[in-house]
């Protein structure tokens, strides 16, 4: 698997996601946001967590206007794989590569803790390392992770199996407990929890590892 990790000013999980991808066997290239092209032959583009441009406008809104964003959109529209975690998920919704928006947490506070999740769709490349309905534990760390979409969109997401992960004990007010969704073609995943923070026994949990390993396996088979 050839992966690119986009680095915006203010990204701070870029190294973490690169470590997890390399551990799963990926070749990883870091791509600066002012670049206007992705490296040739990239299978996966990862949009990392952090506070791109300080999140001083809506989270992810300015990052979505970066030069690299056009290349990212083209990659996705061409059927490429995209993984957005936390701030990355927010960027993907701002780019309209995924529907909905991430609002301020219902409790108004930043929350960093490990939470239970249910894998609601194990049929995507990203979730192929899990069993459908499996309960896993991953850390969350965000101030704006409250997933919102209108009723029609939510119905479509559920009906088409686009909800990838739901919270066991909704920490942030997300509609329908949504923690992560995939695009209609299943190749763009946005999620608020951090699988890269549960990818090593030293992290105190390894439930995130299957996401990267499953993705690497699935892409080898493509």
């Amino acid at each position: 698997m050839k992966a690119a990790v986009i680095v915006f000013p203010g990204s701070n999980c870029d190294r973490d996601i690169a470590v997890a991808l390399k551990q799963a066997g990926a070749q990883v290239t870091m791509v600066w946001h002012k670049d206007d092209a992705l490296p040739d032959g990239v299978d996966l583009v990862a949009v990392p967590g952090g506070f791109s441009f300080g999140d001083y406008l809506r989270c992810g809104a300015i990052a979505a206007q970066s030069p690299i964003a056009r290349a990212l959109r083209f990659h996705a529209e061409r059927g490429g794989y995209v993984l957005g975690i936390c701030n990355g998920f927010q960027v993907l919704t701002e780019l309209k590569l995924l529907p909905g928006a991430l609002l301020r947490n219902a409790g108004l506070r930043y929350i960093c803790r490990t939470v239970p999740l249910t894998v609601t769709n194990a049929g995507t490349a990203f979730t192929s390392g899990y069993a459908a309905g499996q309960t896993i534990a991953l850390p969350i760390a965000h101030h704006d992770g409250n997933y919102f979409a209108d009723d029609e969109t939510l119905a479509r997401l559920k009906g088409e199996g686009q909800v990838a992960f739901t919270y066991g004990d909704n920490p942030n007010g997300s509609r329908h407990d949504i923690a992560g969704i995939v695009s209609a073609n299943g190749r763009v995943l946005g999620m608020m929890p951090h699988p890269e923070r549960a990818a090593d026994p030293a992290h105190g949990g390894t439930d995130g590892r299957a996401l990267f390993a499953g993705l690497a396996d699935a892409l080898e088979r493509v």
Binding site: D16, F51, C112, A199, A202, G204
Partner: protein, 720 residues
């Protein structure tokens, strides 16, 4: 631009005593300009000059084979082997945090992170030691919410994991909260950057964010007591921008790697003034600055305002001239200001130009090395000889009172607002003794703790000072770490009062003795005095931040007990209740003397833990609340119960020092008892872990009930 006249009112408003101003006149041989007066004031205030504390700080041990750089630079530097170094410091932001809690705390975090990366280190861990007034006080809820949110807002966005800290409450902090921020970074031991300028005619470069009027006079404000004019002080609090700081970090590390940096200094208290003077003074050079070239956020700023601004996220650097284009390109990449604002000069002058006029022309070395220094009168406090009575309360009720006291209650409410895991190397987040991170890409771990028991220091400054160091030593030891060094953040009241100065002198003596005995030199630190409101001082609070090294992850000792483990107590129990959490929280009394600290026992017991760690399942140090609290916490962490044989209050809640609670499987426990007997170290079985109840002698309660009460305190007090 015309400057205000120098009147007695202007002089007094800058915090000068008549003698200090006479010294300014003597040095200059003339009256200073308004800008010059501001510069002197910024350099000579307590916050920057340490004029009341220097005499005593010199007595602290600051060296050791592991120390690469001790106090005097932006942060201390300690060798961790393999050509790597840990760079760390703790610093207070007390006064700003009381005036504006969110921004005050946020910029405290920003300042300490800058101190660390100025030295060439990437920050890898942060901690915060917070002291607030009692929860019932009308300001406390506002302060704790604002401070915790501000720390989170800055550290989370910057991307450093917050792995530890303390939160305490006491009425003496009602009008003066304490926010002590710690940061540690990782650097190559041979690539540390210092502040001393070298070479004449070298460009002085301004880096980072633009200069505004925020924080003008902040250091002077932080050197005064509070009174009812406090609301008027709000404009002296700076506003933090963690995004710019994150960019500044990355740009500075790239710049340092490029070889362009001769010396570098962050702009903290007294901004441009203090940073330029330090670089010149340490290098034995003068500095010329042209303020017309300073990147400015606002129009029509005066020289005085620019020299005293405490706008955040700024650095000053002396650049290798041949590297200018390369250096400028790095800052342009990160969209940060890069401006050559002056140069080093051979003569001892601090020459400031603004609008084609000389606005200040001062002998540079006099600003720093000639700053006033005081040997303030001090008196030792009266020795506490009263023997406290033992409360008449069942042990289990006492435990419940302690577990639900805000000092000992579960603090997830605080640390869940901090990103504890960013960088992917956090091995132990807050909540279980020392915080631990991996040294990225190596088997090594670094452990961090911050400790002090202000009640002890108030009752007995010398023993209280020792105890703060000893508790830090124990917290590092309990996870298997070898303590390396410490940083001290000394928070006290008004040093012009002999009683307060006596607390300071005593605490320093105790800290020094303990640091020597435990081989934990002080490598950096900060003094915060005048923590008083309307004449009433805080409890003396010398916070000790300490760092330990674990050579590989398999030498890490956990903090949890397992079902079936034996509970072993290492150390001697006399049942000392003076100044204990039991007396304070159960009876509302601070009676008696602080516990005595036997430093040779501390050392021996610490070495025993490290030498026998393979047989230790879990370990925690005994501190506030003694054996009963330690047993509860270890059982809770392991999801099990515990039964302690003792049922009397002195044994369960005494706060004798040099003690650890160890959980070990029965075979290991036997081996540990034999090893202790052979080593002449006191180790005894005090109970067993297991089941779902907590039992103290013949009384018991379900762990689930106690845990729920313990966890519920903070949300109930400060908002869910």
């Amino acid at each position: 631009m015309t400057e205000p006249d120098i009147t007695p009112e202007v002089i007094a408003a800058h915090g000068f005593t008549p003698d200090e101003y006479a010294e300014v006149l003597r040095i200059l041989g003339r009256e200073p300009t308004f800008t010059e007066l501001g510069i002197f004031s910024a350099m000579w205030n307590e916050h920057c000059s340490y004029k009341s504390s220097k005499k005593w700080l010199r007595t602290l041990p600051t060296s050791g084979p592991q120390v690469i750089c001790g106090p005097g630079e932006n942060a201390g530097v300690v060798d961790i082997g393999d050509g790597q170094a840990v760079v760390f410091k703790m610093e207070s932001h007390n006064h700003p945090s009381y005036i504006e809690p969110h921004q005050g705390a946020a910029t405290g975090v920003g300042g300490i992170l800058r101190d660390v990366f100025t030295m060439g280190a990437r920050p890898i861990a942060a901690m915060n030691a917070l002291s607030f007034g009692v929860p019932e006080h009308p300001k406390t809820r506002h302060l704790i919410n604002g401070v915790v949110e501000g720390i989170g807002a800055y550290g989370n966005a910057f991307g450093v994991p917050t792995v530890g800290g303390e939160v305490r409450f006491h009425p003496s902090y009602n009008g003066n909260c304490l926010v002590n921020a710690f940061a540690a970074g990782l650097a190559d031991a041979d690539r540390i950057f210092y502040s001393a300028a070298s070479g004449v005619g070298m460009p002085v470069v301004y880096l980072g964010a633009k200069t505004g009027r925020d924080g003008v006079g902040g250091a002077t404000m932080a050197s005064a007591e509070f009174d009812d004019t406090i609301e008027e002080k709000r404009p002296t609090v700076q506003v933090g921008d963690p995004f710019t700081e994150k960019c500044l970090l990355e740009a500075c590390l790239e710049l340092m790697a490029s070889g362009a940096v001769i010396s570098i200094q962050d702009m903290g208290a007294a901004g441009l003034t203090c940073s330029a003077v330090e670089m010149g003074d340490k290098g034995g050079l003068g500095i010329r600055l042209n303020l017309d070239r300073v990147p400015q956020r606002e129009t029509a700023m005066s020289a005085y305002e620019m020299m005293l601004s405490e706008s955040q996220e700024r650095m000053l650097m002396v650049l290798k001239p041949e590297k200018e284009a390369e250096a400028r390109a790095i800052f342009e990449k990160w969209d940060l200001d890069f401006a050559i604002v002056g140069e080093t000069i051979p003569e001892d002058r601090f020459l400031i130009l603004h609008g084609n006029e000389i606005v200040a022309d001062l002998p540079l070395s006099k600003l720093s090395s000639s700053a006033p220094e005081y040997d303030r009168p001090w008196e030792p406090g009266p020795r506490r000889t009263d023997v406290p009575e033992v409360p008449d309360i069942p042990a289990l009720d006492a435990l419940t009172v302690l577990l639900t006291s805000p000092d000992l209650a579960h603090k997830a409410w605080v640390w869940e607002q901090y990103d504890t895991q960013v960088m992917g190397d956090t091995v132990r987040p807050p909540g279980c003794g020392a915080g631990i991170v991996r040294v990225h890409g190596t088997p090594k771990l670094l452990a961090f703790t911050s400790d002090v028991t202000p009640r002890y220091v108030a009752a007995n400054p010398v023993e209280g000072g020792k105890q703060a160091v000893a508790e830090a030593y124990r917290n590092l030891t309990a996870c298997g770490a070898t303590p390396l060094a410490a940083t001290d953040n000394l928070n006290f009241g008004n040093p012009e009062k002999p009683k307060i100065m006596g607390q300071f002198v005593g605490a320093i003596q105790g800290i020094g003795e303990a640091c020597r005995a435990l081989a934990m030199p002080i490598v950096s630190g900060n003094v915060s005095l005048y923590n008083e409101t309307d004449g009433s001082g805080i409890l003396p609070t010398p916070t000790i931040g300490a760092v330990g090294l674990i050579s590989s992850a398999d030498r890490l000792i956990g903090g949890a007990a397992r079902e079936g483990d034996v509970a072993l107590l290492l150390g001697t129990t006399h049942g000392h209740l003076g100044q204990s959490a039991l007396l304070w929280h159960v009876m509302g009394r601070d009676a008696g003397d602080a516990p005595a600290v036997d430093l040779s026992a501390e050392r021996a017991h610490g070495d025993f833990v490290r030498e026998n760690l393979a047989r230790i399942g879990g370990c925690t140090d005994l501190s506030d609340g003694g054996l009963a609290i330690a047993a509860f916490e270890m059982a809770e962490a392991g999801g099990t119960g515990v039964a302690l044989d003792a049922g009397d209050l002195p044994t369960l809640f005494g706060e004798d020092q040099a003690r650890y609670l160890i959980a070990a499987a029965p075979d290991d426990a036997e081996a540990l008892l034999a090893a202790a007997a052979a080593a002449g170290v006191p180790l005894a079985r005090v109970g067993a872990f297991g089941g779902s109840d907590l039992r103290l002698g013949d009384q018991g309660a379900p762990m689930a009930e106690l845990t729920e009460a313990w966890r519920g305190v903070f949300p109930a007090l400060f908002g869910a």
